[in-house]
């Protein structure tokens, strides 16, 4: 197959609001299959009106658990994101990289705050 497939988030989750973790997980399940197959995909956020971090943590952040950012970016192209959502996406990716690279990070951060007192 030569053409790159475009998937529409609006169609995939059936709504224009990307706010629910469960919808994010449904998107993750699809994207993970593309990565496993080493298949490029365009993910379109066209006609999406609202995106929250909770949705993106599940849809994209979770991909960082088993894949590098480079691999994800080489296979998945996001389009139709508003500039503010692009920033949110970057935050989610950076946060997930930290989270999965250091699973004890949250415990350390919690401990640091406790010791500040």
């Amino acid at each position: 197959m030569s053409e790159i497939i475009t998937i529409y988030i609006h169609q995939l989750i059936g709504k224009d609001l990307c706010i629910e973790a469960a919808d994010g997980k449904a998107v993750y399940d699809v994207l993970e299959k593309y990565i496993e197959a080493n298949q490029k995909v365009v993910v379109s956020f066209q006609n999406i009106t609202l995106i929250t971090s909770s949705f993106l943590n599940n849809a994209v952040g979770l991909l960082l658990k088993n894949n590098t950012e480079e691999k994800i970016r080489s296979l998945i192209e996001f389009e139709g994101l508003q500039p503010a959502d692009t920033i949110l996406m970057n935050h989610v990716i950076e946060n997930a990289k930290l989270y999965y690279s250091d699973t004890e990070r949250m415990e350390k951060l919690a401990k640091e705050i406790m010791e500040e007192e």
């Binding site: 971090s53 970057n90 007192e117």
Partner: protein, 279 residues
């Protein structure tokens, strides 16, 4: 007959202290006539807090209100009092953001409500589309946070435009487990309520397997740029981020969590630094 007087309730430490105190006095009452007297001033967004407090007791007590006419009018306009048998009233000024009691699974209804009340409302204060969208997103993040962490039956929300102050205040309340209990369970530690809030606003997530913790930290960042204000009440801690970041202790504990956000509507800043937009 029990009578509780709320005199001059606004989004400030003294008012949260008073509401936490009243919650503790009222929560175990059964089979009584309870009158809530609202005097002088009642900031409409605080209906979310009062709604949370009265929810459980209203099933086992006869609740009535004795409010001054101005307060009664605004609380009929935002449909808080319609839950207690009052007639609703047309909001001719378009300044209310309606009181809503939602179940955690009502996320889509909540998002639609925010879209309708903030993004789609006619004649609302002038705001740039980007600002409206960022405010909606911030509020949705906090709703989602309450759903994920509080293990609550209901979430109460209400907002208000203050045109002369160029501000919107929006309050989300849950009566589930507070931030302290949530952090203690996740990390197996014993902490103070102020440490717990500090962890939450610093991005510590209690979720396992999936990254998170961005909701409050992103909101904090946005509020700073917008020169707004963020308040969190959980357990006995009152956190406020405005010109300064402060933690104070209430005299009594509030179950669950109150998040109050104040946004400036006359802010025309673009919230994007070119270095950030890199996808």
């Amino acid at each position: 007959m029990e009578r509780f007087i709320l005199d001059g309730i606004r989004s400030d430490f003294a008012s949260y202290n008073e509401l936490a105190f009243i919650n503790n006095k009222i929560k175990d009452l059964q089979f009584r006539d309870i009158t809530v007297e609202l005097r002088n001033w009642f900031a409409a967004n605080m209906c979310a807090v009062l709604g949370g407090i009265l929810n459980k007791v209203s099933a086992f007590n006869n609740i009535s209100f004795d409010a001054n006419p101005d307060i009664e009018l605004i609380l009929r306009k935002n449909e808080f009092l319609t839950q207690y048998g009052y007639n609703s009233c047309w909001d001719n000024n378009n300044t209310t953001i309606k009181y809503l009691k939602l179940r955690p699974e009502d996320k889509l209804r909540f998002a639609t409500y925010i879209n309708d009340e903030l993004l789609g409302k006619q004649n609302m204060p002038k705001m740039s589309p980007l600002l409206k969208s960022e405010i909606s997103k911030s509020i949705c993040e906090i709703f989602e946070n309450a759903v994920l962490h509080s293990d609550t039956d209901f979430i109460y929300c209400c907002g208000q435009f203050f045109p002369t102050k160029n501000a919107i205040e929006f309050t989300i309340v849950d009566m589930g487990q507070g931030i302290k209990q949530c952090m203690e369970k996740r990390f197996g530690i014993t902490i103070n309520s102020d440490q717990a809030i500090k962890m939450a606003v610093s991005g510590v997530t209690t979720k396992l397997e999936v990254s998170g913790g961005l909701g409050l930290s992103l909101l904090k960042r946005f509020i700073k740029r917008n020169h707004g204000r963020l308040q969190i009440v959980s357990d006995n801690c009152f956190y406020e981020l405005g010109d300064a970041e402060t933690y104070s202790l209430l005299d009594s504990c509030f179950p669950g969590t109150i998040v109050n956000m104040k946004f400036r509507t006359d802010d025309e800043c673009e919230y994007i630094l070119s270095s950030e937009a890199m996808v």
